[in-house]
């Protein structure tokens, strides 16, 4: 018989919140089932109950006809369920190969069979069409590469039921295509696949059936996706009608001096000759495949890596930026990192302290004492301005949701009144509504005169808010597109510059 997973009337409460309330979901072999909902709707909780991380308070779980909940993730794995979690569960110090075969390393006489291990890992990566050194340690990989390793890890278990929790959140379009090919193949072999994503375009491309969660309730249960329009699904997710955003073509004056100009910039990381200009109030999108060198370029400009040739000009003047500190205090450039938890926030600090970290010198009294009153005013200003949901400014940043954390990590740069802001993958793992508000915010900031470089692997995002789009491939700029915000034509020209000559 083919694989089957039935979730029946499952409930789960955490102190103060009913995370799931009598949720039903029927996942059958040979189908791809979309599980949709905003952040906090209960998707991750449901997945954790299926895989034995949490215990359900009530309800049933039937796996291939057998009725039982799993007590631990290992039991779930043995029952043929593989999961790609939203938070990557990789061991940083282990190699790619070791991580891929972590749950079930091939043994011979009780000792790990290295040849077999390499073969398995290689097979999984080849299936994904993803090339990487099997002996590289996880900690040296980019976020996207880690995501792919995580997927490969699920593939090697040859599971009959695969749960994918936002597998495409941080990989590029090209890799997504390959992943979808793999998913289609698994589907044709009778595997049951649960697919969680915030990207509705992708959901429509790959999924057959759909379940929508809202505030822990399954408001749509295992229905054929084709019967619903995208707007109807969004309405079900958010519970009210979200008006389609107007397409606005902003006017950016490029006759004036560029605020930031790179002339034949060469870096120690491998950029040979990068030239670009950023104009006042412009949102300059930078699209590219993973490993194309976009974040690396940003970090080099900000002084983290060595510039070995060419010039950086700010307002027409050639400058040397020595460090992030220099970039912030002297040149007024900020960088919103793509790894908000690792580099963007102090998770065990309050929101107030997180916002003020860039402006400590401006809120001092005598003797280097921080004026807490002033600090609080600044924090409140940005909490209000960005609509950050907090109990008060003393709430710890680590207790906020992903979207709100991201807003906090942006706040500190706004508080520092930077003139140029480089924003790296701002909406990874953020739900539809928060994403929309983020896009509005970026446009608003640009309207106020902030010049923004937006690095994103989300094509829809780049096209929705950039004024101009640069395409980077292999540490080289290979295309520039004036954004008319006409999705089909713009995406086509971006894709053609990525693939031309390769």
């Amino acid at each position: 018989m083919s694989a089957e997973l039935l979730v029946e009337s499952v409930s789960k409460a955490f102190p103060g919140v009913q995370a799931l309330d009598k949720v039903n979901l029927a996942l059958h072999g040979g189908t791809v089932h979309a599980l949709l909902g905003e952040n906090g709707a209960g998707k991750s909780t449901l997945i954790k109950i299926i895989t034995g991380v949490y215990r359900a308070d009530a309800g049933n779980l039937k796996t291939n006809g057998e009725e039982r909940f799993f007590d631990s993730p290992i039991e779930a794995t043995h029952a043929g369920i593989a999961v790609v979690h939203q938070e990557r569960n990789l061991i940083a110090e282990f190699s790619v190969e070791e991580n891929i075969t972590l749950h079930n390393p091939p043994l011979r006489l009780g000792i790990i069979d290295r040849t077999e291990r390499t073969r398995l890992a290689n097979e999984a990566l080849t299936t994904l069409g993803f090339e990487i050194d099997l002996n590289e340690r996880i900690k040296n990989l980019s976020v996207a590469q880690m995501q792919l390793v995580e997927i490969a890890k699920a593939l090697v278990t040859k599971a009959q039921i695969i749960l994918l929790d936002e597998p495409t959140a941080s990989i590029t379009a090209g890799e997504t295509v390959k992943l979808f090919e793999v998913i289609s193949r698994l589907k044709s072999q009778g595997t049951a696949i649960l697919f969680v994503s915030h990207k509705l375009e992708e959901v429509y491309e790959i999924c057959d059936t759909v379940t929508v969660l809202r505030d822990g309730v399954s408001v749509l249960e295992s229905k054929p996706l084709a019967n619903y329009k995208q707007s109807e699904i969004v309405d079900l997710m958010v519970g009210r009608h979200l008006a389609d955003r107007k397409v606005v073509i902003r006017k950016v004056d490029r006759q004036v001096n560029a605020v930031l100009e790179l002339k034949n910039l060469k870096t120690s990381l491998g950029h040979e000759s990068v030239s670009l200009s950023l104009y006042p109030g412009e949102v300059l999108g930078m699209y590219g495949l993973v490993g194309a060198g976009r974040s690396e370029l940003a970090r080099s400009i900000l002084g983290l890596h060595e510039i070995t040739g060419g010039e950086i000009l700010l307002g027409g003047k050639s400058v040397k930026i020595k460090s992030f500190r220099d970039a912030l205090h002297v040149h007024r450039i900020g960088y919103v990192t793509e790894n908000r938890k690792e580099e963007g926030l102090f998770l065990d600090f309050s929101v107030r302290k997180n916002v003020s970290v860039t402006i400590l010198s401006k809120i001092l009294q005598k003797l280097g004492i921080i004026h807490v009153g002033k600090e609080d005013v600044v924090a409140s200003k940005y909490v209000d301005r960005l609509g950050i949901k907090v109990v008060d400014n003393d709430q710890l940043a680590g207790t906020l949701s992903g979207g709100n954390q991201q807003k906090v990590s942006v706040s500190k740069w706004l508080a520092a009144e930077t003139k140029i802001l480089i924003i790296d993958e701002p909406t990874v793992g953020v739900d539809v509504r928060t994403k929309a508000s983020f896009h509005e915010l970026i446009t608003e900031l640009a309207d106020e005169g902030l010049s923004i470089i937006l690095i994103s692997s989300d094509l829809a995002e780049i096209i929705a808010i950039s004024d101009r789009i640069l395409v980077m491939r292999d540490y080289e700029l290979v295309g520039e597109v004036e954004n008319t915000k006409d999705y089909p034509s713009i995406s086509r020209s971006i894709m053609s510059s990525i693939h031309s000559g390769s």
Partner: protein, 342 residues
């Protein structure tokens, strides 16, 4: 204000629980054996030791604030005491000048250690361990070279007797005298606690140190001069270690190579029991004093009961494990509560 809420937040405050435990144990030991309440022979020396060990605890706390360790606190204390002792012996400087010279040496050693960590990018654990060995050799060599067989500087600057043996009850304001059980040694400890507490809770420097400890990469990306802060933290650590070393030398009445050799374990006990995170980013300055006091009361209390040293250490270890596990258990509950929000 909601009274129930206030009580709840008080009970969840580690310092409050720790103080309660300290007072309870103090009374318990006193009731078991009234000799424990002897002001001159038990309480006074206990508080005097607590003063010195709190300062060494603060030295460790400074390194912990940025997520580092300083395994050389004891030896930095020894070198500072050596410098002060040599200054009294050969340069015949005043008490205060000798103290400053000793502190300067301690601070310099700390800053040097910090600088090596920054430049070499080697883990602080390794660097301070190496530093500890190097200084151990240095201290022994100097004492043997200069003092021969006695291996001690014994010149006592004017005023030293006063600091080591008098208590607050000799000071009276308007007929009200200080308590007899408070030694003068408490004064430098109080000053150190006040200054370090002020730095970490109120100032930019403190915030920058804690930011560095909380998340080094985020701090760097937010424009905080993390390299300089690493050096500052170790400088403060060396300075306080020096102070503790000199305080111990004053208490002992002589400057020897053995000073600081018993400092390493207590330097961790105070801050960690008080609630300082080993991973950095959060410190408990007052907690360090209470934590130190607690360990000394347990030690002293048990020894007054006539319990042998071995048993005593076992008991101390168990108490520490329990106290620290309580914090961990509390953290687990918080984590479970937080998971509900995802």
């Amino acid at each position: 204000m909601n009274v129930a809420h206030k009580i709840k937040s008080l009970v969840s405050d580690q310092r409050f629980v720790l103080s309660l435990l300290t007072v309870a144990l103090f009374i318990f030991f006193g009731l078991k054996n009234s000799a424990f309440f002897n002001a001159d022979f038990v309480i006074y020396p206990l508080i005097r030791d607590a003063a010195t060990l709190s300062v060494i605890g603060l030295a460790q706390l400074c390194a912990l604030s940025i997520g580092h360790l300083n395994l050389a606190v004891g030896r930095m204390a020894a070198v500072s005491a050596l410098a002060a002792g040599a200054a009294y012996q050969y340069l015949h400087v005043s008490l205060l000048l000798g103290l400053f010279m000793g502190l300067f040496v301690g601070a310099s050693l700390g800053a040097l250690t910090g600088w090596i960590i920054v430049k070499s990018q080697v883990n602080a654990f390794i660097v301070t361990l190496a530093m500890d060995f190097a200084l151990l050799g240095f201290v022994t060599y100097i004492y043997v070279t200069f003092t021969g067989a006695t291996t001690a500087f014994t010149t006592k600057p004017a005023g030293m007797e006063f600091w080591r043996n008098t208590s607050w009850h000799q000071y009276c304001v308007a007929g009200v005298c200080g308590p007899k059980i408070f030694p003068m040694m408490l004064v430098p400890a109080i000053i150190a606690i006040a200054v370090i507490g002020f730095i970490f809770s109120k100032t930019r420097l403190g915030r920058e140190l804690l930011s560095t400890g909380s998340n080094l990469r985020a701090a760097k990306l937010s424009g905080i001069p993390v390299d300089r802060r690493v050096i500052t933290a170790h400088l403060m650590s060396g300075l306080l270690a020096g102070l503790a070393g000199i305080m111990l030398a004053f208490t002992n009445g002589s400057f020897t190579a053995a000073i600081g050799s018993q400092f390493m374990l207590p330097s961790f006990l105070g801050p960690v029991l008080g609630g300082t995170l080993l991973a950095g980013g959060s410190v408990a300055v007052l907690g360090t004093f209470i934590g130190t006091l607690l360990t000394l009361i347990i030690r002293q209390g048990l020894s007054v009961q006539g319990i042998g040293l071995e048993t005593l250490n076992i008991a101390l270890g168990l108490v520490l494990l329990t106290a620290l596990s309580l914090g961990q258990i509390q953290k687990m509950f918080t984590a479970i509560r937080m998971r509900g929000r995802t």
